[in-house]
Symmetry: C2
């Protein structure tokens, strides 16, 4: 029971909600720069990292040629050795760090015995499923929605509505959505009357005044606290 | 000294010469089928594997959409979960099995103190460098040539000649080429007067009569035997 309603489903964001995606990406990118330097690229680590992050920002994180663009910018031609070094370092780091946040697995295993659980995420379907697979969570969810089209990305209602439809749930007020971003996760859930939970492990949002439809119904700093919200024993 | 000549360089093929590429690919593809079955695909493992191998044969091993084509053929639509399961299983298996053949590292470390060493391989540059990187061999070689254009693939002379040119070697009779395939590696080396060594760990070729320019100058069954050829103590 939350807000005097029996809960039917708990839906989750993926990146930075079920695992620390930002830290993983940053470390993987830093290690890819280190590997290129070790393989012969002449650049300071910090300068290389900043240039790479600017390219990721410019072309988007799902663009497949970040390292090629970086070497282009640096005027380095035809260096498959450097690109291979970067790719191997990037993927090795990512795979090593693709682990769920503490409490995620036990919380999901407890939740799934009481309610439906699902994912509503933005990105490339196969890439999001790869992450779920590395996380060991690929068989956990009753529904997984990945919005591929940019105009359907959160806070758009498309993903939430698809999830509810697939779960045959007609009352959004019996659904909880857990995410880490105010402007997408929380706003989108609030717009539809879904109960919004901000997952804020670093307490980034604790001092920000939230206005209009951007105020989460609840804030949790530990993943397991989601169980307490639903009055379930963890 | 080989054939009364002082040797200047030893060049190597990559796949199935420095590591067991065929076994790795077959196991990786079998594990990808198993992972798709485990994720819900309804097919017999052996049937799935044979269909996948036929697709690899048809589209080539460097084509990026083998699993998509397999699911298309089976009439399975929009299954990112299955594709992700296959990709993760494929890459995890490959990385676990990307290890040099026994004796490769010590042989190369011994050789590089006496002669130049290099690679002449066919394929995609970045992919070949990724393999060298996973093998831990990316810094070993004085020259690495990857023929990307099909008309330059062995037995064409292009790759061998590029390697000799980069090493500033003008006498091919002072160069050894080690490879596992008669029709490409050995024929190409023989055509240029390079000393050809067939690496045949499974003794596949031992009973075949070799004719014309397809007869290797030497055959070795263990990688370390290359040192004996050069009268170097391993």
């Amino acid at each position: 029971m939350v807000n005097d309603k029996e809960i039917s489903a708990v839906l989750f964001d993926l990146d930075d909600t079920l695992f620390n995606s930002s830290l993983m990406s940053l470390r993987a990118r830093r290690n890819s720069i280190r590997a290129m330097i070790e393989a012969g690229l002449e650049i300071e680590e910090e300068e290389g990292l900043q240039k790479l992050l600017a390219i990721v920002e410019k072309y988007g994180s799902n663009y497949g040629q970040h390292f090629n663009r970086l070497l282009d910018e640096l005027g380095v031609k035809d260096q498959p050795k450097l690109i291979a070094a970067a790719i191997v370092a990037y993927h090795s780091t990512k795979q090593a760090l693709l682990r769920p946040y503490p409490g995620v697995i036990t919380t999901l295993l407890t939740l799934m015995k009481k309610v439906k659980i699902g994912i509503v995420s933005d990105g490339v379907k196969i890439k999001q499923w790869e992450k779920l697979t590395y996380l060991g969570l690929q068989h956990f969810f009753d529904v997984v929605i990945v919005n591929e089209k940019k105009n359907e990305w959160k806070p758009a209602k498309d993903g939430y509505e698809k999830a509810l439809k697939q779960l045959r749930i007609t009352e959004p007020e019996r659904v909880i959505y857990v995410g880490n971003k105010i402007e997408t996760d929380i706003l989108g859930a609030n717009n539809l009357g879904i109960i919004s939970v901000l997952f804020d492990p670093q307490k980034k949002y604790s001092t920000i005044e939230k206005k209009d439809n951007r105020k989460p119904d609840f804030v949790v700093h530990h993943f397991k606290a989601i169980l307490k919200l639903l009055e379930i024993k963890g």
